[in-house]
């Protein structure tokens, strides 16, 4: 009861071998694509490393890069094997290697599927990393004189300009942190001292935002300071003003950007996985049909190809038994008190009617 048995004539086998040869080379190209997708994701994550907190996000692109390289190698070997399979004599070279190759490729395609699913699953960790990273970046916005943080101001400004966003969730996040360094605050002025004293931590908080939050689509010149004070600016109502600053939060903007990238990459990897699976199926059919041809002895005859020789359950059981007996290789069979010779019926016994069962032919 083979699983999905298909009959293969000689021409069918040859054509299958040729088609698989071409498909394996196409798979090498898809392996390169996989590798470059992983590289692209790695570069994109590295570009904004300053805005992401310490989270291990690199395992996804590393997985894609590794599977891409392995895919190139496996499919290169597969192409070589399928090229030789068109000729039954050359197949003998690969006969012993083919079954391990099919098994390895099966596990490898499983790894590709895992890689695709990881792309979709990375979103949660990315959200957390961005949340913490952006919060810290905004907190250190003013520290342009601290080594290690001196470029954060530029990074945050360029981020807000490029992604058209402001703050973590919205522009009000800037009201809760001091983003003007003490170096530029005139401590001798009364207003400055009053503001500093007005909150517990001694921070200079104001209802103003940096210039990078300004919306270029606004019809009026940007209002950055005293945003919540409608009387501070002529013809300005803070509640109805929508075009003055960017409304989106940078966390959401970055998350959308990265989610879009990862969804596209995940989708492409799924397509590649389906393609690899179909190539693997073809190689399995080729292997089984060629082995059956060799078993029958006539290289030009028809043969059967299948995915599994017995049904799924029987194959699983026999494999399980093999694995069990592999494990028992070094063990002693304790069933007969350790003596393997007990209860084995003796073929030679000597007694009165001890006659060899076979008559010695009398020479006549």
């Amino acid at each position: 009861m083979a699983v999905l048995k298909v009959k293969f004539t000689k021409t069918n086998r040859d054509k299958l071998a040729q088609v698989l040869w071409i498909l394996n080379w196409v798979s090498v190209v898809t392996g390169v694509i996989l590798f470059s997708l992983g590289l692209f994701l790695k570069v994109e994550i590295n570009k904004r490393w300053e805005l992401m907190a310490e989270r291990d996000l690199h395992y996804v692109p590393n997985m894609l890069i590794a599977t891409g390289l392995i895919a190139c190698g496996i499919n290169f070997l597969g192409g070589k094997i399928c090229y030789d399979c068109a000729d039954t004599t050359k197949f003998l070279r690969w006969k012993l290697l083919m079954l391990p190759y099919v098994i390895c490729t099966f596990f490898f395609t499983f790894c590709i599927l895992v890689g695709a699913l990881m792309c979709y699953g990375m979103r949660g960790e990315l959200e957390e990393a961005l949340d913490l990273g952006l919060r810290d970046a905004m907190r250190y916005y003013k520290d342009t004189d601290t080594p290690g943080r001196c470029f954060l101001k530029r990074t945050v400004d360029l981020l807000q300009i490029q992604f058209q966003c402001c703050g973590n969730f919205g522009f009000r996040d800037w009201f809760q942190i001091q983003w003007i360094s003490n170096r530029y605050l005139d401590m001798s002025r009364r207003e400055v001292v009053a503001r500093l004293r007005s909150n517990v931590e001694g921070k200079y908080l104001m209802d103003g935002v940096p210039f990078s939050c300004c919306n270029i689509n606004s019809p009026r010149p940007c209002i950055q300071h005293q945003i919540t004070n409608s009387s501070a600016h002529f013809n300005y109502e803070y509640q109805t003003e929508e075009l003055n600053l960017w409304r989106k939060g940078c966390r959401q903007a970055l998350l959308e950007y990265y989610t879009h990238i990862m969804q596209s990459i995940g989708f492409t990897v799924l397509i590649i996985w389906l393609f690899e699976l179909s190539v693997l199926t073809g190689v399995r059919y080729l292997q089984t049909s060629l082995e059956n041809v060799l078993r029958q002895g006539d290289p030009d005859s028809e043969s059967d190809g299948w995915l599994l020789e017995n049904s799924f359950v029987e194959t699983a059981r026999s494999n399980f038994n093999i694995i069990k007996s592999l494990g028992k290789c070094n063990q002693i069979d304790t069933a007969n008190n350790g003596d393997p010779n007990i209860n084995v019926p003796s073929t030679a016994y000597y007694g009165p009617d001890n006659l060899p069962s076979k008559q010695i032919p009398m020479a006549s």
Partner: protein
Amino acid sequence: MALLKLQFPLQRRVRLAQGLWLLSWLAVLAGAFTFSLGVYLKTELLRRAEVMDNTEIHVVPNILMLVGLVTMGINLFAGRVCQDSLDSARFPPWKPFLLPWYGLAWMVCVWLLSAVVLSYALQGHLEESLKVGLRNGIRFYRDTDVPGRCFQKETIDRLQMELRCCGNTNYRDWFEVQWISNRYLDFTSKEVKDRVRSNVDGRYLMDGVPFSCCNPGSPRPCLQNHLTDNTAHYNYEHQSEELNLYNRGCRQALVDYYMGLMNTIGPGILSVISLQMSVLVSLRYLQTSLDGVDPENPEADSEGYILAKGVKETMMDVKNIMFKLLQFGQVEAGDEAEAGADGEKAATSS
């Protein structure tokens, strides 16, 4: 005394034809490359068309696009010709087209060279066009409620942020223009009234710049207003402050950008010219060597040259042909009388 004469045994002729076929396909690709360079340059110029006053500079990408298409056409023709060249039956029909082809190929090289020269020569015109365009853009920055000008603000802001520049020549250009619309000025306030009265045109001028001039690389939060007043900001000296705003003017930034583009395109075009010249020379050699082949002995050696006589003699021949063509329209009677006189002279001398 042929110009640059070479011997062509059969093997060399065959190799020349094959090499020329490959070269002509390369030249087709080069033509496509030239066309795409033209398209790219034109798109880049159109992107900033709102800050340019005239479109004189567009002649460079237009030439490149046109010449790119022509190059593709003539080199497809050259490929076809050399495919047929080794077959003595199929080659003769192409012969009459070859002389115009040489003329066209020569013109292509001249046009490409002129495009390269123009791209440098028109730099002054580009700068003038940008000067006027940017001046208008800055002047109409505040007119976000006037149809036709309502996007000037967005255009100028985007330009200044993308190219990291401020104003026309530098940031001081914003001091001479009222860039805040009257809709947002409180005319009941004394300060506004004073400012408006302080100049002849009644404009609200201030020593401030829009937010798009701010440099994100500055260590301190951007100072946009009261830029020339050192006392208005703590720890600020306007003469020595360099990082607060972008120092470059947008005109200079745009000219640098476009000159950089043309400098990158220049060597590409020069290599296309040399490729086309080599196709021209090779086809000429192929044609002359095939013409020199003896019809009874097609596998013999033949000679190939660029010009049958030397350069001076060829020029004289061309001049004579031109004169004959020009004289063709003149009265025939003079020729007949001359022919009659010559005939009498010949009769009397013999």
